[in-house]
Assembly symmetry: C2
Homo-oligomer: 319 residues x 2
Amino acid sequence: MGITVVGSIAYDAVSTPFGERQLMLGGAAVHFALAASFFERVHVVGPIGDDFAEEDLARIGSRGVDVSDVERIAGGQTFFWRGVYGWDLNSRETLETRLGVFEGFEPKLSAESRASDVLFLANIQPDLQFQVREQLQDARFVALDSMNLWIDIARESLLRVIGSVDCLILNDSELRQLTQKPNLIAASREVLSWAPTSDRHRGPSVIIAKQGEYGAALVTRTGFFSLPAYPLETVVDPTGAGDTFAGGFVGYIAAHPDEELSDELLRRAMAHATVLASFNVEEFGTERVERLNGAEITERIAELSACTSFSAVPAALRA
Amino acid sequence: MGITVVGSIAYDAVSTPFGERQLMLGGAAVHFALAASFFERVHVVGPIGDDFAEEDLARIGSRGVDVSDVERIAGGQTFFWRGVYGWDLNSRETLETRLGVFEGFEPKLSAESRASDVLFLANIQPDLQFQVREQLQDARFVALDSMNLWIDIARESLLRVIGSVDCLILNDSELRQLTQKPNLIAASREVLSWAPTSDRHRGPSVIIAKQGEYGAALVTRTGFFSLPAYPLETVVDPTGAGDTFAGGFVGYIAAHPDEELSDELLRRAMAHATVLASFNVEEFGTERVERLNGAEITERIAELSACTSFSAVPAALRA
């Protein structure tokens, strides 16, 4: 039982057409943990600096998230990202990235974090991801996110860690870049065909392509599934949407340890991921998800089902 | 009964990563008619030049499409478009457009074309669209497509014709451009709020945003529906996909004259539109849809349903 996540714990400065925040709680591990905490106990592994407020640590831990493996580096500065979004929120520009305590970070996992049966490797340097993955050799489900930077500068390391996980979660453009295949299905099948890193590993069997405002697609060896984003009239800040999605997806799987990893289970997980992400983007940073409750999630799952369903009655055709 | 479509009948020269065609049958009215002909008898209105082959006219008419309002302009040249697609088929560049017989075109409709109860105004100059719309005042369902060019250079004319139709079908980027609203729902609601052009018109009540490889969304005053594209491992040529989609959508509605224009009916129409478009892109131009049969459509409707369905059973949540 339990989910371990390794990734960034950050302060973000964000500007969108709807406003801005100068110093807000963020980071992939934080967004992931807040979402996944609806489903299972989460253990967060990652570094923070002297500047990281105790009250922000308490916010991460509010839904029973274990922050004992959040390592405070004396004399260090918390990871910082500053970015600005364009008018339709589909483009964003990074204005500043300060690695701070992430330079030289070496993940140290407590016995409890190592005992989780589910692991999420958020987007960090792929050798660090692999190092953590090797500390949870018995995990029954391991998922990984990455980004274009690592495809560009650390491809071999990235391929090694991908071959050691069960599930790859990438933006669709990154999946194309990784495989050099422009078609989503072909790109996914390519990754599904890659050999495991070693006999000890299973290799990827679940591919998720995140498609931003359009939703996400799931490709396995046995099926394809596509789900649009939950329709929102106002999106305020997409920061962290992908990690919140991952938190909903991985969290749902963690909460169903006795179910086989079937396409049917994965689809339900996709629906919960989509709904969690839809709340994330309604306000800045973690603001909305921190206030979220289970009833709101349940209600939106039903709404998502309602706005994606149609009757497949065949028409009378003339030929 | 019957569907009338006005729009281009063209020769296209297309280059994609999968090959090229130097002179292939195309045009919005042609793609629309071939798709809609599975559902109802279609009357095509549009001009061709001396160069247009009789055998191509026969191809358009093969599934009972009425081509008697296709006007051959003596001494004229058929509309010609040349374009090239990028590696992922999401970008395309127009290399050449020759209006030919479309310059000075004045639509002339036979009594039969005027008697149709459903009308599709494919993407042409909006005053021409309005002129045709006024000749089918009693049509029970009128849909319209347009493009960025007309938003840029003929906005007032475009707004007039939009206020005279029931259904607006646009690319999502064009819907944003038209309304200056970046959000799809907000943009759609904006158009739904526009007043009818006159007391004789109803004004738009159905908005469809085409989203290319991601599918399409439907917004009405009572609901939202989103449908991904049918998953294909190989897409050869997207030319005409939008008009084929429109043909499936409008055709389905035309074939159900006794049903109220409910969200439920519109969703079924969207599914048929999506499936028709998926066949269109599998080969160049009209090649695949010309060979298509009803059983293939019916089969793919079931597959589309299968790859978009999930069980909305609520999860046990921790908060």
